[in-house]
C-alpha cells in the first residue's frame, strides 16, 4: 500500500487539519481538546485514514469538521454504538468517540454504561463542561448543585452525575480524568487510552466561558492535582470509587483512576484471530450446510 500522499513523514499536527477552522468561542476549552487529540494522534503515529472519529451533537460535536480522519458525525447521544459498530466491522481501526456531557450522560447514558460493560476496545472522550452549550445553556447531569441556567433558574437540583464513579461501578477497564487546559497531560491520557486494550474513558474538564463562566480555567486550576504525583496506583476498584467521590467543587484529581486488562468484546467474537469482518470476501460463502436442520 502506498504511503498516504498528502501526509508528512513523520506525521505532524497539521496533517490532521481540515480546511475548516474551529468556530468555537474564543477561550473555549474545546480548542485544548482539539490540540491534545491531534498531538496524541501524532504521538501514536496514526495516519488519518486509519483513525475513525465518531462525534455526538453539541459544541463538542461541531469538532467533526475540524479534524481530518474517517469521521462519523452521528446523533445526539448515540455516538458510542456507532463507534462500537465500526470496531466490530473492522477491529484493526483505531476508534475514538467524542461527545459532550449532555450527549453522553443524559441522552446517551444507557450506551455509556453498557458500552463500558462490553469492554469494546475504543476510546471515549467527553467534553465535560457541565452544561448544554450548543443549545445555549441548560443544566446537564454534571452541572453542580445550584447551577443556574435557562432551565434551572433557581439552581440545579438533582444529584450531580458522577461519571467516574459510574464508570467504576459499571466495570470500566480504563477510567481517567483530563483537563482541557493541560494539553500535554491530556494528550498523554489519550495516548494511554488508545493503547489500552479495552474500553478507555476520559472525562475532560472543559471550560465553557460562554455558558458556564464560573467554572473558568482558574477555577479548575485552583482545584486540580495529579494522581500520578500522589503515588496513587490505579489498580483497585474500591479505591477508584472512593477517589471519584471527591467533590469537584473542592478537589479535582487528574489522571488514571483505574485500569485493568480483561477480554474485550472483540475477543468474545474471536475477531482478533481473523481478517476484519469488513474485508471478508463475500464470494466464497456456502450456506448449504445450514440447510441440514430443515431437511
Amino acid at each position: 500500500m502506498p504511503y498516504h500522499p498528502e501526509l508528512t513523514n513523520p506525521l505532524k499536527v497539521e496533517d490532521f487539519n481540515t480546511g475548516v477552522f474551529p468556530t468555537w468561542c474564543p477561550g473555549c476549552g474545546d480548542f485544548g481538546i482539539w490540540a491534545a487529540l491531534k498531538n496524541a494522534l501524532v504521538k501514536l503515529n496514526l495516519p488519518p485514514h486509519k483513525v475513525v472519529l465518531v462525534f455526538g451533537i453539541g459544541c463538542s460535536g461541531n469538532f467533526n469538521n475540524f479534524v481530518k480522519a474517517y469521521v462519523f458525525h452521528g446523533l445526539h447521544g448515540r455516538a458510542l454504538p456507532v463507534g462500537a459498530g465500526v470496531k466490530l466491522a473492522n477491529h484493526e481501526l483505531d476508534v475514538i468517540v467524542i461527545g459532550g456531557d449532555g450527549d453522553g450522560y443524559a441522552e446517551g447514558l444507557n450506551h455509556f454504561i453498557q458500552t463500558i460493560r462490553s469492554n469494546v476496545n475504543l476510546t471515549y472522550i467527553v467534553h465535560d463542561n457541565h452544561v448544554y452549550s450548543l443549545t445555549t445553556g441548560q443544566a446537564s447531569p454534571t452541572s453542580p448543585t445550584g447551577f443556574k441556567s435557562k432551565t434551572t433558574p433557581t439552581g440545579a437540583f438533582e444529584y450531580p452525575f458522577n461519571p467516574l464513579a459510574m464508570a467504576v461501578s459499571a466495570g470500566g477497564s480504563f477510567i481517567a480524568r483530563g483537563f482541557a487546559g493541560d494539553i500535554p497531560h491530556l494528550a498523554d491520557l489519550i495516548v494511554a487510552g488508545v493503547r489500552h486494550k479495552g474500553f478507555s474513558f476520559i472525562d475532560v474538564m472543559q471550560p465553557c466561558p460562554t455558558f458556564n463562566p464560573e467554572l473558568s480555567y482558574d477555577w479548575y486550576r485552583k482545584r486540580i492535582y495529579k494522581l500520578e504525583t500522589e503515588g496513587y496506583a490505579p489498580d483497585n476498584r474500591f479505591k477508584a470509587w472512593e477517589k471519584a467521590q471527591e467533590p469537584i467543587s473542592e478537589k479535582i484529581a487528574l489522571g488514571v483512576f483505574y485500569q485493568e486488562e480483561r477480554p474485550t468484546l472483540e475477543d468474545y467474537y474471536s475477531l482478533p484471530q481473523r481478517k476484519p469482518q469488513a474485508q471478508r470476501s463475500l464470494d466464497k460463502i456456502d450456506i448449504n450446510p445450514l440447510f441440514e436442520p430443515y431437511k
Binding site: 467533526n64 469538521n65 469521521v71 462519523f72 458525525h73 452521528g74 454504538p81 466490530l88 466491522a89 431437511k295
Partner: protein, 576 residues
Amino acid sequence: MQTEIKTITIKIGGEAGFGIKVAGATLGKVFSRLGYDVFDYTEYPSLIRGGHNTFEITIGEKVSHHVRPVNLLVALNQQTFNDHLRELSDDAGVIFDPVKVTPNSKNLRQFGVPFTQITKEVGGSDLMKNTVALGAVLAVLGGNVEGLLDLIRSTFAKKSESIIGSNINAARGGYDFIKNNYKEPFAYQISLKPARDHLYLTGNEAVGLGAIAAGCGLYVAYPMTPSSSLLEFMVKAGSKSSVVVRQPEDEISALNLAIGGGFAGVRAMVGTSGGGFSLMVEALGLAGITETPVVIFEGQRPGPATGLPTWSEQGDLRFLLHAAQGEFPRMIIAPGDVEECFYHTAEAFNFAEKYQMPVFILSDKNLAEGGRTVSTFDQKKIKIERGEIATDEQIASAGKYLRYKITDSGISSRAFPGTIGGEHDANSDEHDEAGYSTEDAHMRTQQMDKRLRKLDAALKEVPEPVLYGPANASLTLVSWGSTKGPILQAIEEMKGMSVNFLHFIYVWPFPTPKTKEILLKAKKLMVVENNATGQFDSLIKEKVGRVPEVRCLKYDGRPFWPHEIIKEVRQVLENK
C-alpha cells in the same frame, strides 16, 4: 363452502408451556419428508405458561397457505375442544384423552387415546403426551410411524438412550393404539409421494439464510416477537458463518451499531418489530443523510404500542414509509412467502449498498413464524453487488475524493475507513460534497435532490409485482407481503372465476410505470390487507390516482383464511 378435498388441516391445542409448538413442528417435518407441501400456523398468547396454545398444519400436494376448516383436531385439554369446535369440518375427527376431555358433539369421528396412561407406561414426562398424540395422528391419517421415529432419533441424538427409547415407545404407543382400536379408516388419508429436495422452515429462518448468503457480517437485534426467532437463528447459524451477532441494550443502540458497521464496510442488518423500530426512527434518518447502507428487518405485530405481541398485522407500512424527520429515500421489501424471504433478503443487501440507503424487509408474525415446505434454496441465484466503492488506487489516480459528490444518479462512491485518501466526514448535518457541514441554500438543495434521485434510480431496477391468474379479469385482488398465501390459496380454489391477483414484494419505491398502467387498467380493484385503514390502498390512491373499488381489511391479529377471501370475492362478483 368446502370444495373438493385437496388439503388436510390438523390442529393441536393445549395449555401454553406444554410443547405444542415443538410437537406441531415435528409433525410438519414428518409430512414434509413424506413429500407433502406443509404450511403451519400457530396461535399462542404473550405468556410463558397458563394460556392456550394451538398449532395447525395444512398439508397437500400444493399448499400456499394454511386453510380452514380443520379436519383433525388433537385436543390435549377440554378448552381446545370447546374453543375450536366451530372451526371443524363436518367430517372432522378429534383425538383426545378420554380422562381429560369429553368431546360433547356427536357428529365428529372420535378417537379416544389414553395419552396419560401410555405416557406413564413408557416412563415419560407429562410433555411426552404430545409424542403419543403425534403417533396417533399418523395412524388416523393412514400413514406409517417410521418417519416420526426417525425424526425422534435424530432430534434426540445427543440425549441418553433411555430418553430416545421412551419417546420412541410413546410415539409407537399412540400409533398402535389407533391401529388396534379404530379399524375403520378416517375420511382423510395420506398417500405416498415422490421424494423431493425440500426444506421445511419459517420465514425468519429463510430471512436469516438469505442474510448469511448475502454476506451479512453484523446482525444486531434486541429481542422482540416476532423477530426474536431471527435473532436466535443468527446466533446459532451466525457463529458457523462468521456473522457477528449482537444483542445490545436497546433498539436505538442496535441501529446505530449497524450503521457504524455499514460505514466501516460490513454488510449490516438489524431485526425488530414495530415497537423496537419506533426506537430506531432517529437512526433511520441518520442512515438516510449519511447515505449508509443498512438492512432493517421489521416483523409486524398488531399495535398500537404493546398491542397483541404474539399475533399478526400489516399495520406498519405507512409508518416505515414516512419514519423520521425530513425527507430521504428508503426501500421497503415485503416478501410474500418463505421462499421470497430468502431471495429478497439477499437482494435487500444489494439494494442497500448500491443505493446507499436503508432497506426494509417488512414481514409479520404469520410469515416470520409460520413454517412451510419450499424447494431447497439455490444459492447460485444470489449475486453480490456492492455498489460503488472507491479504492486506494482509484482515489490516488483521481487525485481527490468527494464522498457526497453530486452525480446524475445521485450515487457517489463510498470509501471505507482504512482507504488512503478517502478520509471524509459522514455527517448528520447537511454537508457539502466532502461532507463538511454547510448551510448554503444551493448546496442544501443539491444534496437533497441528489439523495432523492437515488430513489428514481432504484425504481428503474425494482422487480415488477407478479400477476397471478388470468391476464384479464373482472376483479383484480391487490396485496403485499404475507397476504399472498391465503389469496393464492383462494385463487387456486376459484379457478374458472374471473379474478386475478397482483402481489407486491417491492412496496416502495412505488409504482413503476408498468405497475401504474396495470393498476389503472384493471376492471375492478380489491385491496386485501391485514390492517384497519387500508395502507397500501392509500398508496394506490396517492400514487396511482385511482380509488380501489373494494377494500378487504382484517385486523384482529389473525391471518386471512382462504375461505374468507373467496366469500368476499363471490360477494363482489355477484353484486356486480
